[in-house]
Symmetry: C2
Subunit: 457 residues, 2 copies
């Protein structure tokens, strides 16, 4: 521990910001399993992927060896508009908890998309623009990714078509309006605009949609429209690559003050934030240079790591995407309608799944009322109203800090505060009004979806 006085917020200088993304796969002994063609069950080739993703992103997706990818200057300049993000020393939280632990969080919410999603959105939009495309399509659930992509596309003059999970579209008109401010077209999914949407609506009339459905629609729209490609805000290797900017900044800031975290905590839905935050630290661990505990925190209502199966599965409901090997609950799994806390995806990044399977990372699940309790506590003490997603990590960090109070250990806890909850007040209201339950899927329910996993040799 350094003798330097640590400020409440550590901001890097502009010239200290990362100039290259770090590709964690380069240091993994067991590489993440490749994407498979859903028809042939053979690894997807660059050519096949090129119909869905733009060329540079295909390269990034498939490259398990190159440790660093230069961040193009235009993207670095865009980053300078809202980065570096602060690494915050949670002095107030420590004091309130009366813990000897030292708590830090990397706060990614100070931009209009409200989360870390912008880090990958600008990268994906940039490569699409560079390839001369007209636009991109995507899906969004809570709306953070859709907003981020809208911002990036607006900046670069690209068309942006967002399929928004219907229940979110209806419950979050303000998110929709932000995307509209950035010139995106937003369609509630499932819609009658795509074949897969029509099929899903015919089979499940009245469905309020799911991320898996919306992905299927966005992919179809991209592959059937000249000059469009599909982009995704999480799960993919390329996304974790871009999000490594979170971890790289964090590590530089900690190194400046000689701080070494003992435990690193992140919420985990598709894995984009967690994968980005832990990247350089996990790299050190993989290279045997340092050791850290890593904890993935997921909702008890959508427990892909803690109760899922490590297997090949579809990334989407319509089964138009490649197959990915991941911890999954099955592509038809949809969390309880009462689940308000985000992180609703049925699967998990192949990189994180492999690390978890190799025992390099822990995972826990938390109940949503416990998450909102932590969220409100944190808001009052640290002054930031957190996104429900981020609050999973807050819950786990508080629990760790309380353990330290009991044991007297002066651990250094680092967690990722991925975003703000300004568009999640309906969920907070439910919590305040005692209308939030803690539904947890039964073993029978999970078994039903497990049975439906595709059979791959």
């Amino acid at each position: 521990m350094s003798e330097k006085k640590i400020p409440y917020k550590i901001y890097l200088e502009e010239q200290e910001m990362p100039t290259a993304w770090y590709n964690l796969r380069a240091d993994m002994k067991n590489k993440p399993a490749p994407l498979l063609n859903p028809g042939t069950h053979q690894p997807m080739t660059a050519e096949e992927l090129g119909g869905v993703f733009c060329e540079e992103l295909v390269k990034q997706e498939l490259d398990n060896d190159t440790a660093y990818f230069d961040i193009p200057e235009d993207i670095r300049n865009f980053y300078k508009m809202y980065r570096p993000s602060p690494l915050v020393r949670a002095y107030c939280l420590e004091e309130k908890l009366k813990t000897p632990a030292k708590i830090y969080y990397k706060f990614e919410g100070n931009n209009t998309s409200g989360s870390h999603k912008l880090n990958s959105a600008i990268a994906q939009a940039y490569y699409a623009k560079k390839q001369g495309l007209k636009g991109v399509t995507t899906e969004t659930g809570a709306g953070q990714w859709g907003t981020a992509l809208s911002m990036a596309c607006s900046y670069l003059g690209l068309d942006c078509k967002v399929y928004m999970v219907k229940c979110s579209y209806e419950q979050k008109p303000f998110r929709r309006e932000v995307m509209r401010t950035y010139g995106a077209s937003v369609t509630p999914s499932p819609s009658m605009e795509t074949e897969v949407g029509k099929k899903i609506l015919a089979e499940h009339p009245g469905t309020t949609g799911s991320l898996g459905c919306a992905i299927s629609e966005a992919v179809e729209k991209a592959v059937t429209n000249e000059g469009y490609r599909y982009v995704l805000g999480s799960v993919l290797n390329q996304v974790l690559l871009h999000q490594s900017v979170i971890g790289l900044e964090t590590k530089t800031a900690l190194d400046k003050y000689g701080i070494k975290p003992d435990v690193i905590i992140g919420c985990a839905g598709g894995g984009s934030n967690l994968g980005g935050l832990i990247a350089p630290f996990m790299g050190e661990k993989l290279r045997g240079e340092a050791d850290y505990r890593f904890i993935a925190v997921e909702p008890a209502s959508c427990p892909s790591l803690t109760r899922g199966t490590y297997a090949y599965d579809f990334c989407d409901t319509g089964m138009v995407c490649p197959l990915a090997k991941m911890y999954t609950l099955g592509s038809d799994f949809i969390p309880s309608a009462n689940h308000a806390g985000g992180l609703r995806y049925h699967g998990m990044s192949s990189i994180l799944s492999q690390l978890y399977d190799d025992g390099l990372m822990e995972a826990i699940s938390v109940k949503q009322t416990d998450v909102f309790e932590a969220a409100e506590y944190f808001a009052r003490v640290e002054g930031i109203l957190p996104a429900p997603e981020s609050s999973h990590a807050i819950r786990a960090a508080i629990d760790e800090a309380v353990k330290c109070r009991e044991t007297g250990e002066e651990k250094t806890i680092l967690f990722g505060l991925t975003g703000t909850g300004y568009f999640d007040m309906v969920a907070y209201e439910k919590f305040h009004d005692g209308q939030m339950d803690d539904y947890i899927p039964t073993d029978e329910e999970l078994a039903k979806y497990r049975e439906m996993l595709p059979k791959i040799d």
Copy 2:
């Protein structure tokens, strides 16, 4: 101009943050006129004010001579949770506008209250706590001030009662919910909780309220409840004192890089942001050390400086508050219901009114569709979705920069970006849907309210 490369965002180090607030009145030759007792028309004494405000704040309110007030350490620590705020070089906006002007903005929106209001909220709550009070009462319109005060009170363990203008209460349930997250009680105003509320409801059944009404209710609640005082988010001298932290940080940041602004622009409702931003620069001007142009920007639908009268008037509708000498439209004036852009107060800070009357500051008014056009433009180019209030300053800054493009002048423009618009999406939606008009009060209408001004010798 310095040769140093200016970063996109200038953050001060923690130790560079101001340790004292600057009291602009100390350098004013013509001091702002004193508050008057509404009954006797004599200047309010410290004792009289002490029934409404807490002691330290009364001192600050009445002191026209002390140039600097030390910021207590507890407040400085709270500031460190969300300050220093960034001074942003608007490179992207400059490029998009093709202007030779250099544009800077001080961005106060990166905290959960969404605006600069927190700077004074924590100060006022701190002094209330120090005096051993139980709680404070206040009013809120758009909700930024109420949220800020809720955050400050929650941090200090004070009770917080907010009277929220009824139409905002109904149209902004999420703002209400944020205040609830911070433990405040929020009552739609006018209410049946106060005598003045009952009276207003009897006279105007079905009224959707106004800031002036809500102030009357909050003041009554404070003076009739043991252990409570009233606090106000704008207009008062004490508020401008606390908000000087904005200008002090800005000046330190500019000085570090040897930058001298030619024109300083701020939106003006009650004057808290503008007064805070310009304070140290105006101080230099008053002392003859430097010269700057200052521009107050107000809505054309509520034009207190540009079309109001400089006279003593009531601060509130219920006429329970002291009289203040200010540019005013009359305490019964309420802007058109279609006005969505904030800055709805009928009067203006006595300090700013005096400076304007002395010709030390300019004022302009802008139409709300022009404001929202600038807001959307800015959001797309600079990546921050601005509050409608702040967008008045954006409009004026863009217009100045465009003039520079035409004349070729390389002016340095500084403006205050007071907050974010995340809770204003209904207004943005109106704008997108073409449902926003530009109602401007007629001369006859303004004359009617002018006739109703109190007659003071």
